[in-house]
């Protein structure tokens, strides 16, 4: 589904990632961990084509990211739901419109999908916040709205970059539960997080592999987690 082979990424003369190889199989659940600045976000961006590797190959749905033009990259992104740490909303649009944005840009009629949208908002606990503007939401509500937007197109893969970074423990458990539910629906999930307590909590709910970035390289985390 997503395959990185001997990937390296350099920026500003420094090497951020080196010889990274990993394969995310369909329906798998992965955590990506490591200290701040280790390159977790960079690796996530490589997975959805926001960055291209300096070395090596990134294949998404069997397509080499280097060979995709911008239109093909856009189509590929419709199959990947991304949750950012800072969420990235259009602040002038209500929450419901932000969540429906992937439908809008792909030309699907939002009105025809209104039932699904309402159900999705209930699922993430934002049923009463449809008309609120993003700046009016709390940190947890923003993260849940971002998760709803990430999954509205029923993507094959969900990438979440520090989804619990700005929320309390209770909310992080709720978000984790939603991501585990998605995985049980057959979605491939990759969560970048430095929160080891969250990772331990997740391992009791789902069979997850934990990948750690250390010294620019990716390795499978051992039993220390």
């Amino acid at each position: 589904m997503i395959e990185l082979e001997n990937v390296g990424y350099s920026y500003g003369g420094g090497e951020l990632l080196s010889e990274v190889s990993v394969r995310l199989m369909p329906g798998s659940f992965h955590f990506l961990t490591g200290p701040s600045g280790a390159g977790k976000t960079t690796l996530m961006k490589l997975c959805y084509g926001a960055l291209l590797p300096t070395h090596g190959t990134v294949k998404v749905f069997d397509a080499d990211m280097r060979r995709l033009d911008r239109d093909q990259t856009a189509l590929m992104r419709r199959r990947i739901g991304v949750v950012h740490q800072d969420c990235k909303f259009l602040d002038h649009l209500p929450v419901a419109d932000n969540i429906a944005l992937p439908l809008t840009v792909s030309g699907r009629d939002k009105r025809a999908e209104s039932e699904n949208l309402a159900e999705l908002m209930r699922w993430v606990g934002l049923a009463g916040r449809a008309d609120a503007l993003p700046p009016e939401l709390s940190g947890g509500e923003r993260q849940r709205a971002a998760l709803a937007r990430a999954v509205i197109m029923s993507p094959d893969v969900v990438l979440a970059d520090e989804p619990t970074g700005n929320v309390d423990w209770e909310m992080s458990q709720r978000l984790l539960h939603l991501l585990v539910e998605l995985n049980k629906m057959g979605k491939t999930v990759l969560i970048a997080s430095h929160d080891l307590a969250l990772i331990r909590a997740a391992k009791s709910q789902v069979q997850a592999r934990v990948l750690r970035i250390s010294n620019r390289r990716l390795q499978l985390a051992g039993s220390d987690l």
């Binding site: 856009a74 992104r77 990235k88 649009l93 419109d97």
Partner: protein
């Protein structure tokens, strides 16, 4: 662009229109620039059309007539006039020729010498008005024949002073057209600047749209549609003011000469209505290229 894309661009998409936030100064700048440029374009068009009419009229009126001047001693003037009329009658391409009466010649000289001019006491040449037919005549051939048969006759086919007048009018017409092209170019430049400013101000919006799988054409369309509609509305307002201004210009009259003929005539009044459409097309092209270039830069 495919037909579907053009249709969606023209008809709009209520959901897509909302993804770009309502912008402030770029909207006002586009509206104002389009209105101002359309206002100027109306006057440039009026100038061009009026100059064109003038060139055509001068060219047409002067091209179909000529003057034969008989300068001869008083006792030979009548004989030479008759001889000249006979030659003109036999010349192919001349529809009619007639000698001006003393009263007509006095009327021609009246602006300079007054109404009571004693023509008999002045060595005034006899003038013959020559009107050519559609075929036209051979001026050089006629001159040679007149030189042989009527030594005192001088043919003036008006070419000498008609050409600079017509050239001047045509230059004015070209100037008007050039001004319209310059106005179009300046409009394109201003809208490109405004579009670039809007694109730069909405970098975060573009980032989010790309993140959720928006194609470049979708993002570009959201901006293009806005700028095209603004340019259309601005230009329509500018044309309305411009046409009102032209309406207030004095009516064309002989006394006023060229300056009073600067308005539109007949179907010419419909010509300014094309300006908003052309303005919208210029805005469409300028924003489309600006957006595509900008999106390539930030890929």
């Amino acid at each position: 662009m495919s037909n579907g894309r053009i249709r969606s661009l023209l008809l709009g998409d209520a959901q897509a229109d909302r993804v770009v936030p309502p912008s402030g100064f770029t909207a006002h700048l586009t509206l104002f620039a389009s209105a101002a440029m359309a206002f100027l374009a109306v006057f440039a068009l009026a100038l061009s059309l009026a100059a064109g009419r003038l060139a055509d009229r001068w060219s047409d009126e002067l091209a179909r007539s000529a003057t034969l001047r008989i300068s001869a001693p008083a006792d030979q003037k009548a004989a030479q006039t008759n001889a000249a009329l006979a030659v003109l009658e036999q010349t192919p391409g001349i529809a009619s020729a007639r000698a001006l009466s003393d009263e007509e010649q006095a009327a021609l000289l009246a602006p300079w010498f007054g109404a009571d001019l004693p023509l008999d006491s002045l060595p005034v040449p006899q003038l013959i008005e020559v009107i050519e037919d559609d075929e036209g005549y051979d001026a050089e051939g006629l001159r040679l024949r007149l030189a042989a048969e009527v030594p005192g006759a001088v043919l003036d086919d008006h070419t000498r002073w008609r050409r600079p007048l017509v050239e001047a009018a045509n230059s004015l017409r070209r100037l008007g057209v050039f001004s319209i092209l310059l106005i179009g170019g300046a409009t394109a430049a201003m809208i490109t600047l405004a579009a670039n400013a809007a694109l730069a101000a909405n970098a975060q919006v573009i980032l989010v749209l790309r993140l959720v799988g928006a194609r470049d054409s979708y993002i570009a369309q959201a901006f293009v549609r806005r700028f095209t509609i603004r340019a259309l509305l601005g230009a329509a307002a500018g044309v309305a003011f411009g046409m009102a201004g032209v309406l207030l210009l004095p009516e064309a009259s002989d006394a006023g000469g060229f300056l009073t003929g600067l308005g539109f005539q007949g179907a010419g009044w419909f010509a300014p209505l094309l300006i908003p459409i052309l303005g919208a097309l210029v805005a469409f092209a300028a924003t489309w290229f600006a957006a595509r270039r900008r999106l390539e830069e930030i890929s």
